[in-house]
């Protein structure tokens, strides 16, 4: 298993509270990795470290062999071009149409002719199941459609790593499954793409992930395949799986 992203002894504090505490983590290349854990366990903080939006207090973040910990503003800007990110609320630009949203990263960073960009946009929108939607505005879309447009925007520049921040939170089971299927399909369609999904949804993680990392108290409590998780005897992980309040897991 080759490593795409590695966290080495990462500690990150906000005030006196350590959200990540001596965290060591490896995310495999070309696979779908789910980072799961209860609220406030540092899942979003982890993803922000990967994007370089936060710097660790202690430790190193290595992405595709590059130590990004001390990257300056310009190096980070270049580095982020390799990423696609789907935000929790899709984060589409309200003033732009669907087409303008999806073409945005291409216009900013690509030297492609406009006709090729437009073709790529249509191709990507078709890939997420939304052909002929280019002229609609985000306010005219349902939550599921917004998510898929957000996904198209993340995919359009063919990134090496794609990050999903709670992609199915607040969605009905059918749309959630549709998004999960899309994540799997994208990983099949695009060779060697590394997908990192932040989620509370353990059912989806077991069904979709190839590798799961469970965070607890700022550390990795368990990392492994879905089968490792199904067969684990770890009481904290089992409590999280069962969704019971009673158990060894501490709630703040």
């Amino acid at each position: 298993m080759s490593t795409a992203i590695a966290f080495q002894n990462i500690t990150k504090k906000f005030g006196s509270r350590a959200v990540l505490s001596d965290l060591n983590l490896e995310i495999p290349r070309g696979k779908i990795t789910f980072i799961v854990g209860k609220s406030g366990e540092g899942k979003s903080v982890t993803i922000k470290h990967i994007m370089g939006l936060l710097k660790p207090d202690v430790g190193r973040v290595i992405v595709e062999g590059q130590d990004i910990t001390d990257f300056n503003h310009e190096q980070l800007r270049q580095y982020r071009k390799n990423f696609g990110m789907l935000f929790q609320q899709a984060a589409l630009f309200d003033s732009l149409t669907v087409g303008q949203n999806v073409i945005f990263p291409l216009k900013e960073h690509s030297n492609m002719p406009l006709s090729a960009m437009l073709a790529r946009v249509e191709e990507t929108l078709t890939q997420v199941g939304l052909p002929n939607m280019q002229h609609r505005y985000p306010t005219d879309l349902s939550t599921g459609e917004k998510k898929r447009v957000g996904l198209a925007r993340a995919l359009v520049s063919k990134p090496a790593i794609i990050l999903y921040d709670e992609p199915t939170t607040g969605m009905d089971p059918i749309v959630s499954e549709m998004i999960d299927d899309l994540i799997v399909q994208i990983n099949k369609d695009i060779e060697n793409i590394t997908s990192v999904v932040i989620s509370h949804d353990l059912k989806a993680a077991l069904a979709t992930a190839e590798y799961i990392v469970f965070l607890y108290k700022g550390k990795v409590a368990l990392a492994g395949t879905p089968n490792d998780f199904k067969s684990t005897k770890d009481p904290i992980v089992r409590q999280f799986f069962s969704g019971k309040v009673e158990g060894p897991m501490e709630f703040l």
Binding site: M51, L53, R80, F83, M85, F87, A91, F93, P105, E108
Partner: protein, 276 residues
């Protein structure tokens, strides 16, 4: 009980650390203000750096020119007319006592060019355009759109702030010029209709009293106020947090801060202009 009045109270305050706490609080507040000032200076530096960095976003600049300029035109014309008319009415009443109503138009024009037009234009634009800029960017911030921009390797200062600052710096001095012109028309209408001032005398006195330097000074002020309005509005937008309430708070704070900074800078600019 102590023989010196107040010593007991002083001793209690020292023993209970009230003095230390008070000094600490003031100290922290001063340090915080300096930090904010330093951070704002860095932000202005970043705007200047990004303004000279390609690409030049002409489409966004023109959008903002239309929003700030075209959409504010009617309010500038209306306010300019009534400001000129009311000022002439007030000042004309006083000048009439000394039989000097013929210079009423000139006095109004002088006041408009040097002070009232840039200040009123800035106040109007703070309320109309500045607040809207803060609210728009703050909404983008709390809805993660600014984060999305950063995640797509696009600098929010380059994309959101620079076009707004450039557009304001181009269009607000023009709006100020329009305010002056319309204000003089307002004063003219009042002068002719109420004080029966001769048209030729009205214009002649303005030519005699208002120098090109007055107009230049007024437009200079408008230029600096434009920088203040746009940069503070965008800054508060980018720093917003906490949902709809956060957007509202950012907008209110932005307007209050902009108005205060404009008044403060007005004193400073006027002082410099009068000395030069």
């Amino acid at each position: 009980m102590s023989i010196i009045p107040g010593v007991d109270l002083l001793t209690t305050l020292v023993q209970k650390n009230y003095f230390v706490d008070g000094v600490t609080l003031i100290g922290r507040s001063v340090v915080q203000q300096f930090k904010s000032l330093g951070s704002f200076c860095l932000y202005i530096g970043e705007i200047i750096r990004q303004a000279f960095k390609p690409p030049v976003r002409w489409d966004l600049i023109f959008q903002q020119l239309e929003f700030v300029g075209n959409q504010s035109l009617s309010i500038i014309v209306l306010t300019g007319f009534f400001t000129g008319a009311v000022f002439a009415l007030q000042i004309g009443g006083i000048f009439q006592i000394f039989r000097a109503e013929s210079i009423m138009g000139a006095a109004t024009a002088k006041a408009l060019t040097r002070e009232m037009a840039p200040l009123m234009t800035a106040f109007l634009l703070t309320g109309r355009a500045g607040s809207s800029m803060t609210a728009e960017i703050a909404t983008m911030r709390v809805n993660e759109q600014v984060d999305a921009m950063e995640a797509m390797a696009v600098d929010p200062i380059n994309y959101l702030v620079v076009p707004r600052v450039i557009a304001c710096m181009c269009i607000i001095p023009m709006l100020c010029g329009i305010f002056i012109f319309i204000g003089i028309i307002g004063a003219y209408v009042t002068g002719v209709a109420v004080f029966d001032v001769d048209v030729g005398v009205f214009v002649d006195r303005i030519k005699w009293m208002v120098e090109p330097r007055d107009i230049a000074n007024g437009l200079e002020k408008a230029f600096f106020f434009a920088m203040i309005i746009s940069s503070i509005a965008c800054r508060y937008g980018l720093k917003a947090y906490g949902g709809a309430k956060g957007v509202g708070q950012a907008t209110t704070r932005s307007v209050v801060a902009t108005l205060l900074v404009i008044l403060l800078c007005d004193v400073f600019i006027t002082f410099v202009q009068l000395r030069l």
